[in-house]
Amino acid sequence: MARDGEYICFIEVKYRSSDSHGSPAEAVSDLKIEKLQELARFYISSKNLNNTDIRFDVVSVMRDRISLIKNAFGI
């Protein structure tokens, strides 16, 4: 988790050593997204963050190449 300006970001980091099974970002499946959203909901309610901007980002790491996708699956 990180803070970017007004946003609290939930960041999923994925690593692949080769692209033989697709890029790391592709490995963020629907199920994973649901899990992250549930996690976010739990975090918001437990910390009472109801009036905060939330964002989901994905960091994909391919060996030594790192890239950040902001708002990867917001809406």
């Binding site: 909901r41 918001i44 939330i54």
Partner: protein, 512 residues
């Protein structure tokens, strides 16, 4: 965080209703929800709006977005809400300055690159705008002319989302679209076809003239290639041109059906619809789960031509019986009902038998009596009874064609038709909804269509001899009235009645 309120319209039948588009944006888990009885096309707008906003160079807010289309109890359909929703989102997220959407309506579909696409039903929406007291509407450029038909409102045509935002923020000015209705209306009616294209067929042409003058329905019977279709297509050329009031009605129907061509305004020609005989009854009268006008409404104030009449599905023909009498059609569905105007001239064409050559000299008919009976019985008695004029269009040989002359041009015939129509308009000025002889109903027929003594005697004798119904008698009387009007005669004489009778019982020669 903030809420924005915009205005738009939804369609029901041929009327538009005001819809308030509310967009609320607040902090929290990013989400996008549309509420207010929106159909699939409205819900899908989310993806179009997202792409259009980003591709126009603006930020799409990563927030909780709720879109409400009020009144929430009215069904909303179609893509015309893309634009107002996008404007709402841009105002709520601060791109458009506060208050700039007040009193301004908008409609339009967005493409992914932010350009605006034309939508259907803009003319009734513009009328609704005026009625609801608003002054200004933003819409796609291609719809501009159509909406500008309504006077007293500012129609602002925009080509894409960015232009709209700049306009609303005051960074750019756009002149309201102005249309000179009279000018628009004047440059209009010229036809490629003409009655003088048809050689001979004087009888049929005369019948067409009478039908046009009185607004009568007509059925043409004849062998293939006799010129039935040619005659029908040229009927438009002898009908009087539309009045502005009629033109607006016609344009509204076409607008709702999405049939107004891009960049055009008023439809100035009478419509001519000739659906194929495989047409379904819904396509003919209108309907569907989201009701749309059918062929009979698209032919409003024009001609509905049904070629190969007996080939139509029986159900399809029967459903036009009631609109033929009433001039309107109400389509009722479980969820919805819509009323469309459907005042049209029915022109039908058929062959005398399945092979087409029954009683044609020089050709042998190969049909059996049973086949012919079956073919003709596809059109029920009640439908036949409702068609005022029945004529026979004979096949002409090559020799005849060469020796016959072309006859009068459409312009000359139209002049007579217009004169006859003027006489009728004056006669019926006190009656509501009666403009032509064909529309005279049983209540007032005795008042306006009084035959002379001899004419009356002839009609009553024929009625008995040929077993005509009372309706058939009335129709004959109305045709006689029209013939008298063409000849500028106050009285319906025996001669007029005799000619009218001929159009009513002329097809008896076909009886087996």
């Amino acid at each position: 965080m903030t809420i924005s309120i915009g205005r738009s319209f939804s369609l029901a039948g041929i009327d538009a209703h005001p819809v308030t588009v509310e967009v609320d944006i607040r902090r929290g888990l990013p989400s996008y929800t549309t509420v207010g009885l929106a159909d699939k096309a409205v819900k899908e707008s989310k993806n179009r709006i997202n792409a259009a906003v980003k591709n126009s160079g603006y930020e799409f807010p990563v927030k909780r977005i709720t879109v409400n289309l009020a009144p929430a109890s009215v069904k909303k359909e179609g893509s015309s809400f893309d634009f107002p929703i996008a404007l709402g989102i841009l105002q709520s997220s601060g791109t458009i300055k506060p208050g700039r959407l007040d009193g301004i309506a908008s409609v339009g579909e967005l493409s992914l690159d932010g350009n605006l696409r034309r939508v259907r039903g803009v003319l009734p929406m513009a009328r609704c705008l005026k009625e609801s007291g608003l002054k200004k509407i933003l819409l796609p450029e291609e719809n501009g002319k159509e909406a500008a038909v309504v006077e007293g409102i500012d129609v602002i045509p925009v080509d894409n989302l960015k232009t709209a935002v700049d306009y609303l923020n005051g960074d750019k000015s756009i002149e309201p679209f102005k249309l000179d209705l009279q000018q628009e209306f004047r440059h209009s009616c010229s036809y490629r076809e003409d009655f003088s294209d048809i050689k001979g067929q004087y009888m049929a042409k005369r019948a067409m003239e009478i039908a046009a003058a009185g607004g009568h329905n007509i059925l043409m019977t004849g062998p293939p290639g006799a010129g039935k279709t040619m005659l029908a297509r040229r009927l438009l050329t002898i009908l009087p041109s539309l009045s502005i009031r009629e033109a607006i009605q016609v344009t509204i129907i076409q607008s709702v059906a999405g049939k107004v061509s891009p960049g055009s305004s008023l439809v100035s020609r009478r419509p001519f619809r000739s659906p194929h005989h495989t047409v379904s009854d819904i396509a003919l009268v209108g309907g569907g789960s989201n009701p749309r006008p059918g062929e009979i409404s698209l032919a409003h104030r024009g001609v509905l031509f049904l070629d190969e009449f007996p080939e139509f599905k029986r159900q399809a023909i029967e459903v036009i019986r009631q609109p033929m009498e009433d001039g309107t059609i109400t389509v009722s569905r479980a969820a919805d009902s819509a009323t469309y105007p459907a005042s049209f001239m029915l022109v039908a064409a058929m062959n005398p038998c399945p092979c087409g050559y029954f009683a044609v000299s020089g050709r042998e008919c190969t049909c059996t009596a049973v086949e012919i009976k079956k073919y003709r019985s596809k059109i029920s008695g009640p439908v036949m009874d409702r068609i005022d004029m029945h004529i026979y269009v004979p096949a002409l040989g090559k020799k005849d064609i060469d020796s016959l002359d072309r006859g009068e041009t459409s312009n000359i015939i139209r002049k007579r038709v217009i004169e006859a129509r003027n006489i009728q308009r004056e006669r019926y000025f006190r009656e509501e909804n009666i403009f032509a002889n064909a529309e005279v109903d049983g209540k007032v027929i005795d008042k306006y269509c009084r035959p002379s003594k001899t004419a009356s005697g002839l009609l009553i004798d024929s009625m008995e001899k040929y077993g005509l119904s009372v309706r058939a008698y009335n129709k004959t009387l109305k045709i006689a009235r029209t013939i008298a009007d063409i000849e500028n005669s106050e009285e319906i004489t025996e001669q007029h009645a005799a000619e009218a009778l001929q159009y009513r019982i002329g097809d008896r020669q076909w009886d087996l």
